[in-house]
């Protein structure tokens, strides 16, 4: 199959205008690379940030209804006097039913009842204010995978065993095997044996979390058989808000998803996405203008040749296709090179920029969907950009071209 006339001419004309061709190819390559690189970078970083945030946090937290809101509905007079009761811990009414309800809700993959409240821990002379977390390990670890964060010992909280963060251990001067004394606000006391230390990549939580089994915490916190909250994990991260609202409507409890508790972060991320989209649009426009301007010049330069071709029987449509093809070639070739370049950039960045703990902030992987999309968009933009010059070439009067 011989190379068609349009292909042959398109390619020869491109080769003839080497300098222009290379320049615009570089332009398209750069544009595509920037778009893919930025998109990939932002997507990955956003993914990493969300992962980090959610690695130590439930997707949805169910808490008892704030009493203040109930009182407000009762009387107007007392409403002025209300103060949140905060101090005394309350349990969720009929929490077993709520757990059941949550388990039966599609889209929720883990349900973990928790009894948590503020306590003091003491060892020798050191004393710290911390949060006692009474949990059922099999459920809780489906939400926050504590096994992954253990740096010493094991995550085992049967009996009077406890697991604390590395930073708290340092503050208290304790390690595995040591016993710490827990004192509640009601002055209940209990000694716990440290069997494991965790590092959850969050200094604050490393200082604050003290795990015990649910039973023990219920007793200490004075909510026998009760739980202070129920933690949930969902299958689709961004469905959390919707699921939380649904459960809230069903139970009337105070239910909040990570999307609400981290609304500032989400806002920032979505602003970032908007910025990225703006950049993408501008780069596409600039690349399109670049292709168009190079082809406009090329059409003027090739005026005479186009006239001869037309005199030899070339149809307007054929001339049109020559230049549309050039646009498509710029787009396709540029996007191919741009994808490779962006992959190179991503690799470089992933090697240079690491998170403080030395782990990869992002990996140099290309989303094939993004790459395919970029190629298709680049080709279409190339063709569209070529439209004006190509039509100009096709409309050209062969006589004028030959006479001049």
């Amino acid at each position: 199959m011989p190379l068609s006339f349009e292909w042959l001419l398109a390619i020869r004309f491109l080769k003839e205008g080497k300098m222009q061709s290379w320049l615009i190819l570089a332009g398209v390559t750069g544009g595509v690379a920037i778009i893919i690189f930025l998109t990939q970078l932002i997507n990955q970083l956003q993914g990493t940030i969300i992962d980090r945030v959610l690695s130590s946090q439930a997707h949805i937290v169910i808490k008892p209804t704030e009493e203040t809101t109930i009182r407000q509905q009762n009387t107007l007079i007392t409403s002025a006097l209300i103060q949140p009761r905060g101090q005394r811990l309350r349990s969720i009414d009929q929490w077993e039913n709520i757990v059941q309800l949550a388990r039966n809700t599609p889209g929720i993959k883990a349900v973990s009842p928790v009894a948590t409240g503020p306590v003091f821990v003491r060892h020798n002379l050191a004393s710290k204010s911390v949060a006692l977390l009474g949990i059922m390990p099999t459920e809780y670890t489906k939400i926050v995978n504590m096994y992954r964060y253990m740096v010493k010992g094991r995550f085992d909280i049967t009996g009077d065993q406890t697991v604390i963060g590395t930073d708290l251990a340092k503050d208290l001067g304790v390690t595995i095997g040591d016993r710490i004394q827990v004192t509640t606000e009601d002055n209940q006391q209990q000694n716990l044996t440290i069997v494991g230390l965790f590092d959850i990549n969050n200094k604050d939580l490393n200082k604050r979390w003290v795990f015990s089994n649910l039973r023990l915490a219920q007793t200490l916190l004075n909510i026998p058989g009760g739980v202070s909250n129920i933690d949930l994990a969902v299958v689709q991260l961004f469905q959390a808000k919707q699921l939380a609202q649904r459960l809230k409507a069903q139970t009337g409890l105070d239910i909040e998803s990570w999307m609400e508790s981290n609304s500032g972060l989400l806002n920032a991320l979505s602003n970032q996405t908007v910025t990225n989209n703006l950049i993408r649009v501008f780069v596409v426009i600039i690349v399109a203008l670049g292709i168009a301007s190079v082809l406009v010049v090329s059409v003027v330069q090739k005026q005479k040749e186009i006239g001869i071709l037309r005199a030899m029987g070339a149809k307007r449509a054929q001339v049109l296709r020559i230049f549309l093809l050039q646009g498509a070639i710029f787009g396709t070739l540029g996007s191919t090179l741009g994808i490779s370049l962006s992959f190179g950039l991503l690799t470089l960045f992933s090697l240079i920029y690491k998170s403080p703990d030395g782990s990869m902030l992002f990996t140099a992987q290309l989303d094939p969907k993004l790459a395919i999309m970029a190629s298709i968009v680049a080709m279409i933009v190339g063709i569209l950009a070529a439209l004006v010059p190509a039509r100009r070439a096709a409309r050209m009067d062969p006589v004028q071209a030959i006479r001049s």
């Binding site: 006339f5 004309f13 003839e16 001869i308 029987g313 062969p398 006589v399 030959i402």
Partner: protein, 237 residues
């Protein structure tokens, strides 16, 4: 007289100058070329020779009049049909060869066939090579136009015009850019092609000696044809 390959009846051509004024460049041309004839078109500069040739070549349309090529009427037909008619019936040779600089001699000769999406590349290549040897350039097939002399380039342009075996070849001052010797060679080549292949030629030239060697002579003055006899007598003076 054999069947006419070309018939012009009262052909007029006007150009708009600015927005309102129109000047008529050709004033009612009547001309009939019989198939297989060898014709010269002469006339002073600006008399409208190129304009007439471009009209015949269907590169532009007359303002009025009838133009028939190979029995095909050319009025009221679409641009695409004109292009097709042109491709099938007419080969062009211009003063400034107008070869495509990005292609070698062989590719330039083959270009009309490439434009018309030939089906058999082998046959097209063989034909183009035989044309190149017919114009005496068999060995230069791989050279780019810039590597060839003006005479050689014009030969390639003639070979190119022959590629699709058109019944009519229009040449606008094909020798205008060449020295006397090279001009004579090109002229002989065209004459030979005319005699051996029966292709009709219409050649615009300023060279009265060459024109005198043509079978028919048409002389254009200020956009009107004068009788060849007048031309002949004028030549004698």
């Amino acid at each position: 007289m054999s069947t006419p390959i070309l018939e012009l009846i009262d052909i007029r051509k006007s150009y708009a100058i600015g927005t309102s004024v129109e000047t008529e460049v050709l004033h009612g041309i009547n001309m009939t070329l019989s198939s297989g004839s060898f014709n010269a078109l002469t006339g002073p500069s600006g008399s409208g020779k190129s304009t007439l040739l471009n009209l015949i070549g269907l590169l532009e349309s007359p303002t009025s009049g009838t133009l028939r090529i190979n029995q095909h009427d050319t009025q009221n037909i679409t641009d695409a049909e004109l292009t097709k008619l042109r491709g099938q019936n007419i080969g062009f040779v211009f003063q400034f060869h107008h070869l495509l600089p990005a292609f070698n001699a062989l590719e330039n000769v083959m270009m009309p066939a490439i434009i018309h999406q030939y089906s058999d590349k082998q046959a097209a290549t063989t034909h183009a090579k035989s044309l190149l040897s017919a114009v005496g350039l068999a060995d230069a097939w791989h050279k780019k136009p810039s590597e060839l002399s003006g005479g050689m380039q014009q030969r390639i342009a003639i070979a190119r015009a022959l590629m699709l075996k058109p019944p009519l070849i229009l040449a606008d001052e094909p020798t205008g850019n060449l020295d006397t010797h090279a001009a004579d060679d090109i002229f002989k080549l065209m004459k030979q092609i005319n005699e051996t292949q029966g292709i009709t030629f219409l050649i615009v030239t300023h060279d009265t000696k060459l024109a005198a060697r043509c079978q028919n002579r048409y002389h254009l003055v200020d956009g009107a044809l004068t009788h060849p006899e007048d031309f002949a007598s004028e030549n004698l003076n």
